[in-house]
Symmetry: C2
């Protein structure tokens, strides 16, 4: 029996005493001055590799887990995918857990291919990720291969439940009828698509529960909906939450407080641009600027950690 | 103004006089004897590159469009992605349209990165695909960057609406309430999540409509639900359908008939394993076997074309 991903993640959060998830979203136009060595895809991919390694050097002593965004590497083609693989390997070498944000899914043996390729340590898995984000639209049987491979390899999943974009409401907030043709839930608290997806994810979390009380199957729950995060926390007691939308997308520490349990566990809070491109925003731009951009990353990470400790149950992580 | 993808696809279907979409889903365990040169990922990726090129050589004179499945290349890591890029390029060189089955999506600038990376001709896009499958769970604003890039570059999209796996029902068949809290639609014909997604896709198809009467934004509509294909055909008159599930997944020509318009247009019918691994199934296994596997691909493709012409409105394509 492999180790349980939720236990591994919980231990890493307790060791670093904070729930920050640093997103690695490299973009050519935001790189610090002098970092981009040219405009060919090979040069951009090489710059991304070096930039991400430098960010990893700064955040590895501070946080438990990083999240490379597949799209920003994929847009560079195969050489970008090589830079992604190198970034994943480097982060693991530095002792970080790696959650790949790929939002993959498919059916049957195709889902198995994604799961086997991405989940688990190398060389068992070629990409060597600790966890992967997945999309639930294709239904319960599409998630099964991911859950099975994750269990077998001590890896984890984060299933999209409630996303942080305004258009997330389009389908996720639709209200359903129950078997008798009446509104499912109450008028004040109707059941929506995201509740239904949440129920499935919670059942998969229970199936993969570890000693931490959480399962290896987690949920993506957007921080732009603070009340909903707390409500889902109650309805999904075994489900680890990945909360995007902090910082650049408008979520504050108070907004994400509801995602934690009373011990400050059960949630990881993501910031990407807010940390890795801190040199471009105040107060870090004036203080550090492009030349000392790694100091800006360091300061922004420490500030986010402090903010979460002060304003959420994550403060409990330093008391224990 | 770029050419319209639906017009390009329609012209290619009319030229080849059939709606067959050949899926390129390479799997090491199914390759013809002697094709696999070794068990390292480099050797497997190289075998996939050669195998797909050989399939393309056979089907290029026969069909309009092929569909590489990203997962089977991704599972091999960066060298697999290189083989995928080479496969896409080779198919385009041979005059085929290329639809990448990646089922991608994300929000904001991340969705833009996927769209810009995959959609359009090289070098404008690094991957150089004519079209991409996308997942609608993240909502209307997540689809917008894909639609904008597709319009600008004369490329296309196929959005998952009703998938062919049994678990597709989990969420896609949920029934909704309307604004008054009552069942949306009638008891006999309730509106489900896939109808709502279909409405959005049809509106995007209208927005991107070309001279063919179809838009550049299409829908994935599973062939294991024949009645639903016909019903959706009526409700989505501007939407091109990608129909998976033919052959290996159990759909017959009669099952997919409802996906076409009266001229035999508006749909592409996918078969993957049924064609590319025809050497492993009867009647092709006995007749051709591993040694003449390309003849098996040729025969299976021609048989599928004949079947569709005989039992669906696609027969009209040879009369015009």
């Amino acid at each position: 029996m492999a180790d349980n991903f939720a236990d591994i993640l919980t231990a890493a959060i307790q060791k670093k005493q904070n729930p920050v998830l640093v997103g690695l979203d490299p973009r050519a136009e935001n790189l610090p001055e002098g970092m981009l060595s040219g405009s060919s895809v090979d040069q951009i991919a090489d710059s991304y590799r070096r930039f991400c390694a430098d960010v990893i050097d700064v955040v590895a002593p501070l946080v438990a887990i990083v999240k490379p965004q597949a799209a920003f590497f994929e847009v560079l083609g195969p050489v970008g995918m090589r830079a992604l693989a190198d970034t994943i390997n480097y982060a693991r070498e530095k002792g970080l857990l790696v959650l790949l944000d790929g939002k993959r899914n498919d059916i049957g043996s195709t889902a198995t291919a994604y799961a086997e390729g991405y989940l688990g340590k190398r060389p068992e898995s070629i990409w060597g990720c600790d966890a992967l984000t997945v999309n639930p639209y294709l239904g319960d049987d599409s998630l099964r291969p991911f859950v099975d491979v994750a269990k077998e390899r001590g890896a984890g999943l984060f299933v999209l439940v409630k996303t942080s974009n305004p258009g997330g409401r389009t389908f996720q907030d639709l209200q359903f009828v129950d078997k008798s043709g009446m509104l499912d839930g109450s008028v004040d608290s109707p059941k929506t698509l995201y509740h239904r997806v949440g129920e499935l994810v919670e059942s998969l979390a229970k199936e993969t529960v570890g000693e931490s009380g959480y399962g290896s199957v987690g949920a993506v729950v957007g921080a732009t909906y603070p009340a909903q995060a707390g409500e889902l926390r109650e309805q999904m007691p075994h489900t680890f939450f990945l909360v995007p939308g902090f910082g650049a997308q408008g979520g504050s520490a108070a907004d994400v407080a509801g995602a934690f349990d009373e011990n400050g566990l059960g949630a990881i809070i993501n910031s990407s641009r807010g940390i890795i491109f801190a040199h471009q925003r105040e107060p870090y731009a004036q203080k550090f600027g492009d030349k000392a951009w790694q100091n800006a990353v360091d300061a922004a990470t420490r500030d986010m950690i402090s903010e979460l400790r002060a304003e959420t149950p994550a403060g409990k992580l330093i008391e224990s």
